[in-house]
Subunit: 244 residues, 2 copies
């Protein structure tokens, strides 16, 4: 029996199941870190075979939205688990040493979105935003000067204290404090010369070459939720990228 629904553009069943599962994730039926129902249970619920649910989950697991654990179950991915903290940080020490990440808070102010920010965050120009600046240090040495902008609405109540308390992973904080989970990000890298302010903060001379990382992060449904510009010292670190 074919359960394929009639539709103008063909859409496989497992793809539709994937959408249903994603909606339950957005709706908060299953929260980050929690277990979701077993494949058999979902098969009954959606009235499809276990294999079809399986394909949908496979796809979500490939996108790091769900995590499968044999013998235990399938879990909603989270930025909170110790193991995957800093999942989006591709910068690693050249020597491979483990290092202590520290978060030096600089500022957190209410601002309005300029044209560029409005475009990348898919909000109106002039809409309320929160703007955060901080310095990340590894083993006591300044490493990254971060400039972060998020839309004010989903992050109502965000302030400097929350940034200070989160100690490192903003994503973990977004998740537990505001229920916003980032699932994907795009980064655009350039080499730039340090301006006076950043040079001072990082302890180098003006004009020093820095790795500029412009990142836009997306939550469920490819909705952009954070813009970030990181200026990094790459004397002892490099950005790792795997190509296939």
């Amino acid at each position: 029996m074919n359960k394929q629904l009639i539709s103008p553009s063909y859409r496989p069943l497992y793809d539709q199941i994937k959408v249903l599962i994603t909606q339950s994730l957005i709706g908060g039926e299953w929260r980050p870190g929690e277990i979701i129902p077993s494949e058999m249970e979902l098969a009954v619920r959606y009235k499809v075979s276990q294999g079809t649910v399986r394909k949908a989950i496979d796809s979500l697991a490939a996108e790091n939205i769900l995590i499968r654990r044999q013998g235990k179950g399938t879990f909603v991915a989270t930025h909170n688990a110790d193991v995957i903290k800093l999942r989006f940080l591709r910068l690693t020490s050249v020597t491979g040493n483990k290092e202590l990440l520290q978060n030096e808070f600089i500022s957190c102010v209410k601002t309005k979105a300029n044209a560029h920010i409005a475009k990348v965050l898919d909000i109106k120009a002039g809409a309320a935003t929160m703007e955060i600046k901080r310095l990340l240090t590894f083993s006591g040495r300044p490493l990254i000067y971060d400039h972060i902008i998020v839309p004010a609405v989903p992050f109502k109540g965000l302030n400097g204290n929350k940034v200070i308390e989160c100690n490192g992973s903003m994503y973990s904080m977004y998740e537990s404090q505001f229920g916003v989970r980032m699932v994907r990000a795009e980064e655009r890298l350039k080499a730039v010369a340090a301006d006076k302010d950043v040079a001072t903060a990082l302890g180098v001379k003006e004009g020093y070459p820095l790795l500029s990382i412009e990142r836009v992060s997306f939550t469920y449904g490819d909705k952009p939720m954070e813009w970030r510009l990181g200026l990094c010292l790459t004397d002892d670190h490099h950005y790792l990228s795997e190509l296939e």
Copy 2:
């Protein structure tokens, strides 16, 4: 019936099929761009079900080693096809304009591997290597200063003419001239200051910030076959990286 072979560490059947297919690719039974036998034919050949062959091919397709085309067949991926030329080039114009890539040959000499090159290419220190330098220009403007090192043995006969003729994609040339196909690469990025020689070649001042991309490329079986250092001007271009 379970066809699982007895082995100390458990290995799924489709994984073993994947190895067999990879061996046929290494052995040259199916060459880049060619079609491989249908799933049913392979199922008969390996004495497993079509679904198991399917999983093996799925995995190889996910690694961009094979390309599936519905209704036509499964093909060996190639760097020659126009569509996927420059598959490993993540640098794109900020404006999104299509541009003309050009290859300006600088030098091609026989050298010996130093300790670092020997390590990353998995060859003996002092082993014969070929060392190539070139300048890549986009729309007439210098953009990337490339320094490329490959082991001499698999590329016997490589010379300046071949580099000049290939006009851009070294990988396409490696494939058609030497039967070496790259399937994967690792890149390490840094921001550096231009030294005198590179600054001159790129038409900027000494000390100008450049994006340094150190790349190691691998052929089948994760065998490293090329080391490359690209120094890029990123005023009008950026390096795109997708995180999941």
